[in-house]
Symmetry: C2
Subunit: 337 residues, 2 copies
DNA sequence: CTGAAAGCGCTTACAG
DNA sequence: CTGAAAGCGCTTACAG
């Protein structure tokens, strides 16, 4: 069934039917009624392929999620979808591999579906730097700052990673910890782990404790399995740590398991702090002390900025949203030990 | 950039370029080389809209995932995607709300994108019963059995829920537990929880222990938060339980937290068994004893059946894939207590 | 093996 | 306000 059938059945021409379907203003009320009646009767749905082919005009909004298993992102995504739905926007969600080039993917999607805007959930600065220039629609990056890139159509909202990590380590120091190990991702300059580690350095310096990256940092991907293994390696190198700061909650959860397997009690024998504030961190045993990223605000600011960027021509904005240290059970104070 | 540009630049006609792009056999090696060189140089990607519009023939495969936060599904999905990719199939993934009508969604998608097959990750029998009849392409349902529905184009692969639940409770009984509480979902007849509970009944009966649903069953959704609350309610009703069987690992994880908060040690004071075998169950403290659904086989059988259904006309198949009781740390034997 | 041409289902100036 | 017509970018008989 095509628009042609509707035309025939309604007694109007193709053009008029199409105009009704697209809510064009210059259609008589009579035509609109007649056509819609037929459309409803037949349960007609226009063919999106033909539509997109013709209307080189932008339609939906694309959300690109980097990493399928990222619990922080699924939290944010859920909120984003609700917000776009409330704004009556159709959204297309794609999940990419953690290592995939999200910018190339977006570029390709642009050619194919021509979305009117992109929302990136996580991103690799390197890919943005290399390929984003070709991007022509408004975009928003979440959880990473794209400020330094200076693209005119790219806004970003993120947690101040260095500051948040610093607060976490400051807290550990305030509890008397001096030998702190850190578990996190790839340390190349553009990566999130790198920025978080900067905060660790700052805190260590200000609190006058030593921090030797080679010995006290152990890299791993953001998963429980990797956190588990990395914690093992870290402890092998540095058996006398009194605390571990994991740059992601899933890493922390895996690490806690590794500690338990070595007979270490948390927090009695060793303290653990995570990062992100995912739901599971609230239910682990012990409950995980962590730095919570504000997913609600991230989602809210991101969606609003994108919508505005689509409707008006606006300069990009780059904002840090607040974070919060959530003190729970996985840290022990050495002072009152 | 379009196929036209490629034609011009390569010196061949539109038709030949298209044939090269689609790997048609009757193209000279020379033409193929020349065209592909230009395509590569320009980084050309054909427009899918035009493509789909023309080839009224079905293209991608659609995977509909019910529930965004279901960890079991994300496990399966990952495997499914790898398998379809290996088979050179393009897949379109959509995440639906836990309560959404996946069948209506599929019907709509059929009109729009005309996929050549659907793979449902989770599904509500009620929706299938009502609307699936209109579905015309081969479909596969995973984790639920659709056998009783008898649709000619719907296969299904699932764990024998009743048998698996029975094994879990049998195990608890073999450890000497007699007062067992159960936490799970909605008990309406079509639901998965209902089938799992049947296994509980069978086990209770065969092992000669009492089981009073009103007192010993507490319903909740499949999330940690709900598992946490439900465990609280259950314990309030029945404080003397020696074991809890949660019909989902996330429920079990939430329940373990609730028990810990009441000062109950697991498994010393109370044992816990989960269901699903998600990754987190391996890293919890204590590690969760659970019934593992075989995600690898579910994915494998599902993908193969769908591909076969697409390529040949085959009668639907309904299979139970094996499950496995994974004994870990959350259960204590009362015998050697 | 290749080219010229029709047509997929729609939208949108253009003319009236 | 409406219709006739061009055209979006592709694929695929058809003819050679």
């Amino acid at each position: 069934m095509t628009i042609k059938d509707i035309a025939r059945l309604s007694g109007y021409s193709l053009g008029t039917v199409s105009r009704v379907l697209n809510n064009h203003p210059d259609v008589s009320e009579k035509a609109r009624k007649r056509v819609m009646a037929v459309v409803r009767d037949l349960g007609f749905e226009p063919n999106t392929n033909a539509r997109h082919l013709k209307m080189r005009n932008k339609t939906s909004i694309a959300v690109l999620v980097k990493g399928t298993h990222n619990l922080l992102f699924s939290d944010i995504l859920e909120k984003i979808q609700a917000k776009f739905a409330a704004a009556g926007e159709e959204v297309y969600v794609a999940y990419l591999d953690e290592d995939a080039d999200e910018v190339q993917y977006a570029l390709q999607l642009s050619r194919q579906r021509n979305p009117k805007g992109f929302l990136f959930l996580g991103g690799d600065m390197e890919f943005f730097r290399e390929g984003f220039e070709q991007m022509e629609v408004p975009c928003v990056l979440l959880t990473n700052s794209a400020e330094e890139l200076g693209f005119p159509n790219l806004s970003s909202f993120s947690t101040d990673d260095a500051a948040a990590a610093q607060v976490a380590v400051d807290y550990l120091c305030s509890c008397g910890h001096q030998k702190i190990g850190v578990l996190g991702g790839n340390l190349s300059v553009d990566q999130i782990s790198y920025r978080r580690l900067r905060g660790v350095y700052r805190s260590a310096k200000e609190n006058g404790i030593p921090f030797d990256t080679t010995k006290q940092y152990e890299p791993c991907r953001y998963s429980m399995a990797e956190g588990y293994r990395a914690a093992g390696r870290l402890l092998q190198k540095e058996p006398h740590l009194t605390a571990i700061f994991a740059l992601g909650d899933v890493i922390a959860l895996g690490a806690m398991r590794a500690l338990a397997d070595r007979g270490l009690r948390i927090p009695e024998d060793i303290s653990v702090v995570g990062y992100d504030g995912i739901v599971s961190s609230e239910y682990s045993i012990p409950r995980l002390t962590t730095v919570r990223q504000d997913t609600e605000q991230l989602a809210d600011r991101g969606v609003r900025a994108l919508l505005q960027g689509i409707h008006y021509e606006l300069p990009p904005v780059h904002e840090a949203v607040p974070f919060e240290l959530v003190r729970r059970e996985s840290v022990r104070s050495l002072q009152d030990g």
